[in-house]
């Protein structure tokens, strides 16, 4: 079976992020590197676990982004994936999930994949759409928020459990090929091994220019970025840590919590 894992590079969560002067995009503190989307690590690990169970399985990774996005593929190869496909876009700005999924579908539809895995969302834009949109574009069945999966021995169907609210799980039986968007907690993603990291550094990535895949127009448009409004007082305590501790104690006592 061939598995494709969709991955993305995102700014480090602790990186300073500010809105640019045009209020239409962001500037990111360059002292923090981009990283592999945390949610994708679970998808990659799940693909590698399937490969351990079915050793003839091939695991490949795909990303859509500018030059720097290759790091997501190298990290994926470092964990153990076989090959990376980079759909290269010119700019580093916003790309909608519909456009991302469309380009991935344009690439993947005729490559004979039996399973496509994605993280449930990306840490940066948090749409949660690429997996399900990709499935619908390919006309494949799909399950999101998957916390357990088991490929049947025949490799024609997959049993999947979706985590839903209230501590319940929805249990499904899907025909392959299918798309699964993977929820966190399904596994413990492995650290890259030294040999895989070295392999990843030297790996030749298949690079495809995005315009050759004829991406569609975006269906929604980012008009403006703003900072969130405070929904509460947001009183910032000042002074040394000890002084702040005393101030907070005073506040909590006055409110009779202590």
């Amino acid at each position: 079976m061939r598995i494709l894992v969709c991955v993305k590079d995102v700014p480090a969560p602790v990186a300073g992020i500010r809105i640019d002067s045009a209020a239409t995009w962001i500037t990111i503190d360059k002292s923090y590197p981009f990283m592999l989307n945390r949610f994708d690590e679970f998808a990659i690990e799940e693909a590698l676990l399937i490969k351990e169970k079915f050793p003839e399985t091939v695991v490949e990774a795909i990303t859509v982004g500018p030059e720097r996005s290759a790091l997501a593929l190298r990290r994926t190869i470092g964990m153990g994936a076989g090959k990376g496909i980079h759909i290269l876009v010119e700019h580093g700005g916003y790309i909608s999930p519909f456009v991302i999924a469309s380009m991935m579908a344009s690439y993947a539809w005729d490559k004979g994949y039996g399973l496509i895995l994605t993280g449930i969302m990306s840490e940066d834009h948090m749409h949660g759409q690429v997996g399900p949109v990709l499935a619908e574009l390919l006309s494949w069945p799909c399950a999101t928020s998957v916390v357990y999966e088991r490929i049947q021995k025949c490799q024609l169907r997959v049993y999947a459990e979706r985590e839903i609210e209230g501590g319940y799980r929805d249990c499904l039986d899907l025909a392959l090929p299918a798309v699964l968007s993977i929820q966190t907690g399904i596994n413990r993603p492995r650290y890259p091994s030294l040999s895989n990291v070295l392999r990843a550094k030297k790996a030749h990535l298949e690079t495809i220019r995005a315009d050759t895949l004829q991406p569609p127009d975006s269906q929604e448009h980012l008009i403006e970025l703003t900072y969130p409004q405070k929904s509460r007082a947001g009183k910032i305590l000042q002074g040394t840590p000890k002084e702040k501790a005393f101030q907070l104690f005073t506040i909590l006592s006055e409110k009779a919590f202590i």
């Binding site: 300073g16 992020i17 949660g128 399900p132 985590e163 839903i164 970025l225 929904s231």
Partner: protein
């Protein structure tokens, strides 16, 4: 006839999900900008009774679609049935909840309908003749204001962002019944099973001290436990990432996919404040946030903000609290 805002009713295990009333609230607000009629749609194999309830509660008309054999939610069936039904309802918007169910079918339904899909909407306003939908990005540090570029748009609405108003006496809406047979062939629902105890560990907690990824390592939980022990009726909780790495059990998770809590005091330690977590604690009485990232989104939803390393600050706070209590004991 006016065009419509279609609301997809969510129900589970024989009960209507109250988030449906939040969708109605969202639709009401959207209709003030757009002069559209909200209209509810519910699918299932015994939905007529729900339909009358919601038509009564909201005053909106309801289309109740009997789908024989659809005992519980199934994405394939929902997309096939709604994909067939919705175009005939003069839709401009289709609204779903940003729940596990909504996130599962809304993006796919949007593709089926040729519509844009905007997820996790928290707010909306009108500017320059267009409706702008606000959604959080970068862990909640930035808000993206988005407009749709298609005639029909599918929206998922963040739970908690559009609280339903007090019930008013409204004229009940009409209920329209139809039947659309549909079966899932390629994704069959097998069963829904309970995997975690229903009883909340937070049921009796007046004070919750919660851990985010910023606590750094499992050992630092002991600092939070010490802090919690200063307060009677307290509990330690965490965001999902803390549970994912096994530092806390998932029954202690607070957030969209975990528990929703409303303690009198919520102390968030090393919690970034991403919307998924905030959705589970936004209605807490008083919120204190401790984080060494001064731009952390949690500070927008806190009453008191402490920009400090929690491994330094929490022991100092615990000291103050213990000294304060013993001062209090001496005085009485």
């Amino acid at each position: 006839m006016k065009h419509r805002i279609i609301i997809i009713v969510e129900h589970f295990g024989g009960k209507l999900n109250p988030v449906t009333y939040e969708l109605a609230s969202f639709a009401r607000e959207l209709s003030t900008f757009s002069s559209l009629d909200p209209h509810l749609v519910i699918l299932g194999d015994a939905v007529e009774r729900y339909a009358h309830d919601i038509a009564h509660q909201t005053g909106f008309d309801v289309t109740a679609v009997e789908v024989p054999g659809l005992a519980s939610y199934n994405a394939e069936v929902y997309i096939n049935v709604l994909g067939e039904l919705i175009p005939g309802l003069d839709p401009v918007y289709v609204c779903c909840a940003h729940t596990s169910q909504g996130m599962d079918f809304a993006p796919r339904l949007a593709v089926r309908l040729g519509a844009a899909c905007i997820t996790s909407v928290e707010c909306l306003h009108e500017e320059g003749g267009r409706i702008r939908f606000a959604r959080a990005i970068y862990g909640g540090k930035i808000v993206a204001n988005v407009v749709s570029g298609t005639q029909l748009t599918v929206i998922t609405v963040l739970p908690g962002a559009f609280p339903p108003p007090e019930l008013e006496n409204t004229e009940p809406g009409l209920v329209i019944l139809s039947t659309i047979p549909s079966e899932s062939h390629r994704s069959r629902s097998l069963e829904t099973k309970l995997c975690r105890p229903v009883e909340s560990v937070f049921a009796y907690a007046r004070v919750i001290v919660s851990a985010g990824r910023g606590i750094g390592k499992k050992e630092n939980l002991s600092l939070l436990e010490k802090l919690a022990s200063v307060f009677p009726r307290s509990a330690v909780a965490g965001s999902r990432p803390v549970c994912d790495v096994g530092w806390l059990e998932y029954n202690r998770q607070i957030g969209l996919t975990g528990a929703t809590v409303t303690p009198e005091l919520y102390i968030a330690c090393g919690v970034s404040g991403a919307v998924q977590h905030v959705a589970g604690m936004r209605d807490s009485g008083f919120v204190v946030a401790v984080n060494n990232d001064k731009h952390a989104a949690i500070f927008n939803v806190a009453d008191v903000c402490i920009v400090e390393d929690l491994t330094t600050f929490i022991p100092l706070l615990v000291d103050e609290c213990l000294r304060g209590s013993s001062r209090g004991d001496r005085d009485t």
